[in-house]
């Protein structure tokens, strides 16, 4: 279809109906399957927490897999549903390149939070004793006071 109001738009994506329907169906099924897998992993993590076994590495691995699956979902939504994949490469780059800032953004702030925890555990023994998860029940515990909560809220 021509867009008389926008002469500067030189060509239009031609999507024939059958091809479009096939693509939307495929993407919907993919998103649903990925979500179901994510839910399965979430429940697996839950049962591991519950059985209280020492599987910290496996839980971490599962969480990593869920993160990757989420990125895959994001890719399909942006590229197919939002049609970014069909745009001109230069335009895609003006969106994607600035988003690279997230690589630093996530890494730096997670690192910072983790370092804050380590420093507090080292120098504030009260914080460590009152908040560190107990592997075995017993010993005396204190309630966590508001003063122990992070002071670095935004």
């Amino acid at each position: 279809m021509q867009h008389p109001a926008f002469e500067e738009v030189t060509y239009h994506h031609h999507t024939d109906d059958a091809e479009f329907k096939r693509r939307v169906r495929k993407t919907t099924i993919l998103l649903s399957i990925i979500t179901v897998i994510e839910l399965g992993i979430g429940l697996a993590i839950y049962s591991m927490h519950k059985s209280n076994q020492d599987r910290e590495f496996l839980i971490l691995l599962f969480k990593g897999v869920v993160c990757i699956l989420t990125l895959a979902k994001a890719y399909y939504i942006v590229s197919v549903f939002m049609h970014l994949g069909d745009e001109i490469r230069n335009m895609i780059m003006t969106i994607v390149v600035p988003l690279m800032l997230f690589i630093w953004f996530i890494a730096a702030f997670i690192w910072d939070g983790n370092s804050y925890k380590n420093l507090r555990n080292k120098y504030d023994k009260h914080f460590e004793e009152t908040t560190m998860p107990k592997k075995h029940h017993g010993e005396e515990t204190h309630e966590m006071k508001p003063a122990d909560a992070p002071g670095k809220k935004d």
Partner: protein, 299 residues
């Protein structure tokens, strides 16, 4: 400069045509969404930063395990997966509305937009139920009064506190029961009676002295916890609230688009590009939910 370009290539930058082959409004919608992605990203990263600074963080499966009409049944992840699928499906109907717009099919646009609006309202209703359930929930937590004495309190999840800390061991919970208020004890005995105390009516419990009630609570089933990290409630309500506000504004935009379509505004204009812009916004809302779902419910 234009002369240097080879003739068989499109001369994108010589003027008269859009170098990105997009009309202005749609391109600007993309840049708005990019900035909005940074806003949401900053919120989620701030949440991650605080979470990594804590030794203990609540397990989402303990917090989000309720389902409307299922009472106290433990159904982790069930309700949020319903919400996720509602949003995915409403995203699909939006794609179909945009596609109908490409073909200039007014009836198609209206039909699929209407379904998208239904999906958006359904999602918002789910979120309203979930918030209500969390805020009004009654969970037993170990609290400390001004004199440093421990007692059991009944709280829900709010910005000021939440009941999702670590489970308190039985002996400690039992001793804290002695210092708890009569009202709290009646509630606990009513919800978690020991076998010997089962079957007592609420009226009968009200008349009993606190010292007697304290011995009638089945501490093992009451799951008495410490208070959780305060930041948990604020981040949850703040970020899901900000996302819910986006869904709400998306629904409003879609309703406006539906009315404009119905009044032939786009038909007279000759194109349905506004539907594409509204569609981009709606898909973005779905995209953000994917990450909110990941950060709050899955990991």
């Amino acid at each position: 400069m234009a002369n240097t370009a080879t003739t068989h290539q499109t001369k994108w930058w010589t003027g008269g045509k859009s170098p990105f082959n997009l009309e202005y409004g749609k391109l600007m919608m993309w840049y708005f969404l990019m900035s909005d992605a940074f806003t949401f990203g900053a919120f989620l990263i701030s949440y991650g930063s605080i979470r990594f600074s804590q030794n203990f963080w609540p397990d989402p499966n303990v917090v989000f395990n309720a389902f409307p009409g299922a009472g106290h049944a433990n159904l982790p992840l069930a309700f949020v997966s319903v919400m996720t699928f509602i949003l995915i499906i409403s995203s699909v109907t939006m794609v179909l509305a945009v596609h109908a717009g490409h073909k200039g099919d007014k009836q198609g646009v209206m039909k699929w937009l209407a379904w998208t609006i239904v999906g958006g309202i359904a999602f918002l209703s789910c979120q309203a139920w979930e918030w209500h359930h969390l805020i009004t929930g009654q969970h037993a937590v170990l609290a400390t009064d001004a004199d440093g004495r421990q007692f059991i309190d009944i709280i829900g999840q709010t910005m000021g506190g939440n009941p999702w800390g670590q489970v308190v061991d039985h002996a400690q919970a039992q001793s804290a029961l002695a210092a708890s208020s009569h009202e709290t004890l009646v509630h606990l005995v009513h919800e978690y009676p020991t076998q010997a105390a089962a079957g007592q009516s609420l009226e009968a419990l009200e008349k009993m002295p606190a010292s007697q009630l304290a011995g009638m609570v089945d501490v093992a089933h009451a799951h008495i916890r410490e208070k959780g990290p305060i930041a948990f409630g604020g981040y949850f309500f703040g970020i899901t609230g900000f996302h819910g506000f986006h869904v709400f504004s998306g629904v409003v935009i879609n309703i406006i688009m539906l009315l404009m379509t119905q009044r032939n505004v786009f038909q007279n204009r000759g194109h349905y590009l506004m539907i594409e812009k509204a569609g981009l916004y709606w898909h973005f809302v779905d995209l953000v939910w994917v990450f909110v779902f990941l950060c709050f419910y899955l990991i």
